[in-house]
């Protein structure tokens, strides 16, 4: 009964309305500004504004350095690794899941990748083997997550929490508390530090992953089903979508992103260690949520996530430019997350969503 009440409240159309109306008439009950704000463009506009404010603050407080091209590249480069895992995280969260294991899987991928590179045979093997191995580790961990969640019916939070702990431990065992240098793979290091059109390789990778993620979400049947599963899992199942298999793929995809991020960290630091990627999962989730993706699933954008990642990284940069401690940054991040979620609840949904 209550459901009927809520539907009625936001249903300006009644069956008695003259037929053959065009689209715009009926939505007039909601004010224009509100509709724009609640649309995906509007929400991303808000994020762009927030980013602009940060840039203005940065430019005002550190006028000599902040707006320099090199500093902008620093921000983008630092954003790129968390950015890549945030893309996979966005898809998982849109489908109503969560992946807490990405940071650990990143670490594990970097360790296993580095092990492949420092073997005795490393000289004879091409560096691409290392890259493929690291990415395969990510996919494998993601598949394990996906199988446990989709077919074992374990809550995603718990399954990926177990992977968070387990993958980190495995990385420690394999690395044996050493830092595994991959600096010997000169071609790899050169490649990862290539500069194309003045932009770093890491940034290119982030860009490519983001674009692929956007296309996947917005242009393919896979993306459509992801949204449907997050929006109403039961309806998706009853429409004949193989929900379990789809969920499995999503976690594999998130694992792949973590693997790619593992390769990126190898390229940036030239070292695989078991501590790589610690707490990255939280940065990624924060960026995704601030970017407008609903934690309950069904709604979210890749563009929003990219903006979310950039907002956090710019914030960090502004604080560093002003010699503020990382503790102050952490407080500011916390405030931003809460404010963003509050704003989301205010604007993200048309009124009267029945629970």
């Amino acid at each position: 009964m209550s459901e009927q009440t809520t539907t009625g409240a936001d249903t300006p159309l009644t069956p008695t309305e003259p037929p053959a109306t065009t689209s715009t008439l009926a939505a007039d009950a909601t004010p224009m500004w509100r509709r724009i704000l609640s649309g995906s463009v509007g929400r991303n506009l808000g994020l762009v504004l927030a980013l602009l404010v940060l840039v203005i603050v940065g430019a005002a407080t550190a006028p000599d350095t902040f707006l320099g091209l090199s500093n902008i590249m620093v921000i983008l480069r630092q954003a790129s690794i968390v950015g890549v895992i945030s893309i996979g995280m966005t898809l998982v969260i849109i489908a109503g899941g969560i992946d807490l294991s990405v940071g650990s899987v990143l670490g594990l991928a970097s360790v296993v990748g580095a092990l492949a590179a420092v073997q005795d045979l490393a000289d004879q093997t091409h560096w691409i083997v290392m890259v493929v191995v690291a990415m395969a580790v990510g996919v494998f961990a993601g598949l394990v997550n996906g199988i446990v969640i989709a077919y074992g019916n374990v809550v995603a939070f718990m399954a990926t929490l177990a992977m968070l702990v387990g993958a980190r431990g495995l990385a420690e065992i394999l690395a044996d508390r050493r830092t595994l240098q991959v600096g010997g793979q000169r071609d790899f290091i050169t490649f990862m530090n290539l500069d194309i059109l003045g932009v770093d390789m890491l940034i290119w990778i982030f860009l490519v992953v983001a674009v692929l993620g956007w296309v996947l979400l917005n242009r393919t049947t896979f993306g459509r089903r992801t949204v449907a599963i997050g929006g109403n899992r039961e309806a998706a199942r009853l429409a004949g979508i193989n929900v379990k298999r789809h969920v499995l793929y999503l976690y594999a995809l998130s694992g792949l992103c973590a693997g790619i991020a593992g390769v990126m960290i190898l390229g940036r630091t030239t070292a695989g260690t078991s501590v790589n990627g610690q707490l990255y999962e939280l940065d990624a989730i924060a960026a995704v949520v601030v970017g407008g993706t609903l934690l309950i699933g069904g709604r979210g954008t890749i563009t929003g996530t990219v903006l979310g990642v950039l907002i956090f990284q710019t914030l960090t940069n502004v604080f560093i430019q002003n010699n503020l401690t990382s503790s102050v940054q952490a407080v500011a991040k916390g405030v931003i997350i809460v404010v963003a979620v509050l704003l989301q609840q205010r604007f993200a949904r048309p009124s009267g969503r029945s629970s």
């Binding site: 009964m1 009625g8 037929p19 242009r219 049947t221 949204v227 048309p350």
Partner: protein
């Protein structure tokens, strides 16, 4: 028409109406309950029984009409106010907290406490008293409620009602979850309550129980009282059934096209069973035929449909479509064989409410609108638009979120979905629930058209009249069994109810 004696009546309800978003659930209900009687409320699904008791409990507030309590005009603003007056309600879905003990459940919300600390021993002692009073003194107050049987949970719910100083207990189909023996225990408790002067409003659809326990009867139909204060002794079953069903609705059902004798069997369900829910269900549906499952809520009709569809995994039996057996428990297989389901709960099971009409229409068929995994939005929208035009879906905007549509138009989305996909078997669960009368005729015509196009259609509805009017063949279902299979021309609403009530009598 009925004389009201304000002196002896405990509760007196006059002309109460209640509408939800324009849908009138109660259109004028009269009810008089005397102290110490068992007053039975009888009515079909959707007659307004649940709304009425929620109004009395203070969950809903009436739009119009008056409620007198002991002769005084009262307003029951919220459930607390109801309890304060002495009205306690035991809902059908037992609202006990599984993780708490019996004592904790009974005093939930009015905990015995001093300075915020619960007084456990006193609560336990009083719980023991209450349980003893209900003839269940052997239950320990510290037992976790989650471990109790449904019957014992009911005792806990009743003890909770009694922990307040109640004068009236409303029981919403309390026997639904009980076996025959437990029902007799329940009746014993009810008799003790009434002997102590407490009135019981007893809601059921089992005529047998009314005969055993009831004093007087009120019949609801379509949100109105059709009779109130009927004495149980001296009112015939035929009369009650007539009061429950005798409506004068214009015939809105389209005439079925005659089924050719050589129409092939499309859907063949053989010995299908789901343990604990239904058993040995067999039927066949031919191309162009509409088969209706008639039965009450809980009879297993929706579960049968969902199992045929593979949304539940059958424990035995088989389903085949045009001779091809379906994999048990696989919706994917059923859909690829050309089976489509329009589920009972349109909003929670059918639609992705925040997404567009177009997306909802093409949900099972996205691959057909994609090349190499990339969605061809133009083709998709064209298909959605074609369905919007064909089914006169309003608003005629493929981008409109499904949430904003009326019930009838949401139902059309679900039908359009399977039209786009191309089905041979359509399973429709409550296709007109929440759909207003005008739009119903459209849905009926649409269902008939789908059958005429060669689909095998199975319809489930709580409204028996609808099942009979829409179907070529009617299967009467009760307690998970098919009681009879008859051409719709050979059965009427009375006949179905008669069968169902005999079939479910404990």
């Amino acid at each position: 028409m009925i004389k009201v004696d304000h002196e002896s009546s405990l509760l007196d309800v006059r002309g109460v109406t209640k509408a939800f978003a324009g849908v009138r659930a109660l259109r004028g209900v009269d009810l008089t309950v005397r102290a110490g009687e068992v007053h039975c409320i009888l009515g079909q699904n959707g007659a307004g029984k649940s709304t009425l008791i929620k109004t009395l409990a203070g969950v809903h507030r009436p739009d119009d009409g008056e409620i007198r309590w002991g002769g005084e005009l009262v307003e029951i603003a919220d459930p607390d106010a109801g309890l304060a007056l002495g009205i306690a309600t035991m809902y059908q879905e037992l609202d006990v907290v599984d993780g708490l003990s019996i004592a904790e459940n009974i005093f939930l919300g009015h905990e015995l406490a001093r300075a915020g600390f619960t007084r456990r021993s006193e609560a336990a002692a009083r719980t023991r008293d209450l349980l003893t009073r209900l003839g269940h003194g052997s239950l320990s107050p510290n037992l976790e409620v989650g471990q109790l049987s449904a019957a014992n949970k009911q005792i806990v719910a009743m003890a909770r009602a009694l922990s307040h100083d109640v004068k009236l207990i409303i029981m919403d189909e309390p026997s639904a979850v009980l076996d025959a023996h437990e029902v007799q225990n329940l009746f014993g408790v009810v008799r003790e309550l009434t002997a102590a002067g407490i009135a019981v409003v007893y809601i059921t659809h089992r005529l047998e129980e009314i005969r055993q326990i009831g004093d007087r009867i009120t019949v609801l139909k379509d949100g109105r009282t059709t009779a109130t204060g009927l004495p149980v002794a001296g009112t015939s079953t035929a009369e009650l059934i007539h009061l429950m069903t005798g409506r004068e609705v214009a015939n809105v059902f389209p005439a079925p096209a005659p089924l050719p004798d050589d129409a092939p069997v499309v859907l063949d369900v053989d010995g299908l069973s789901l343990r604990g829910v239904f058993g040995d269900v067999s039927f066949r549906v031919r191309a162009g035929e509409v088969v209706g499952l008639a039965g009450l809520v809980g009879s297993g009709r929706s579960e049968i449909l969902e199992t045929v569809y593979g949304a539940r995994r059958a424990t035995s039996g088989s389903v085949s479509v045009s001779g091809r057996p379906l994999r048990r428990g696989s919706v994917v297989d059923a859909v690829s064989a050309g089976v489509g389901l329009s589920p009972e709960e349109r909003k929670s099971q059918g639609l992705v409410l925040d997404e567009s009409i177009a997306m909802n229409v093409t949900l099972p068929s996205i691959p057909e609108f994609a090349r190499g995994g990339f969605v061809d939005f133009r083709a998709e929208r064209a298909a959605a638009r074609a369905q919007i035009d064909a089914l006169e879906l309003r608003p005629a905007d493929p981008d409109r979120p499904a949430r904003t549509l009326s019930g009838g138009n949401q139902q059309k989305i679900l039908l359009a979905r399977w039209l786009v996909h191309g089905t041979r078997v359509l399973l429709l669960d409550e296709p007109t629930r929440g759909v207003d009368v005008g739009a119903r005729a459209e849905i009926y015509a649409l269902i008939r058209r789908l059958a005429a196009e060669g689909n095998a259609v199975v319809v489930v509805s709580s409204e028996i009249e609808e099942v009979i009017g829409l179907s070529d063949t009617v299967l009467v279902v009760a307690e998970g069994r098919i009681l009879s299979t008859l051409p719709s021309s050979q059965i009427d609403e009375h006949g179905v109810l008669d069968l169902v009530m005999k079939g479910t009598a404990a």
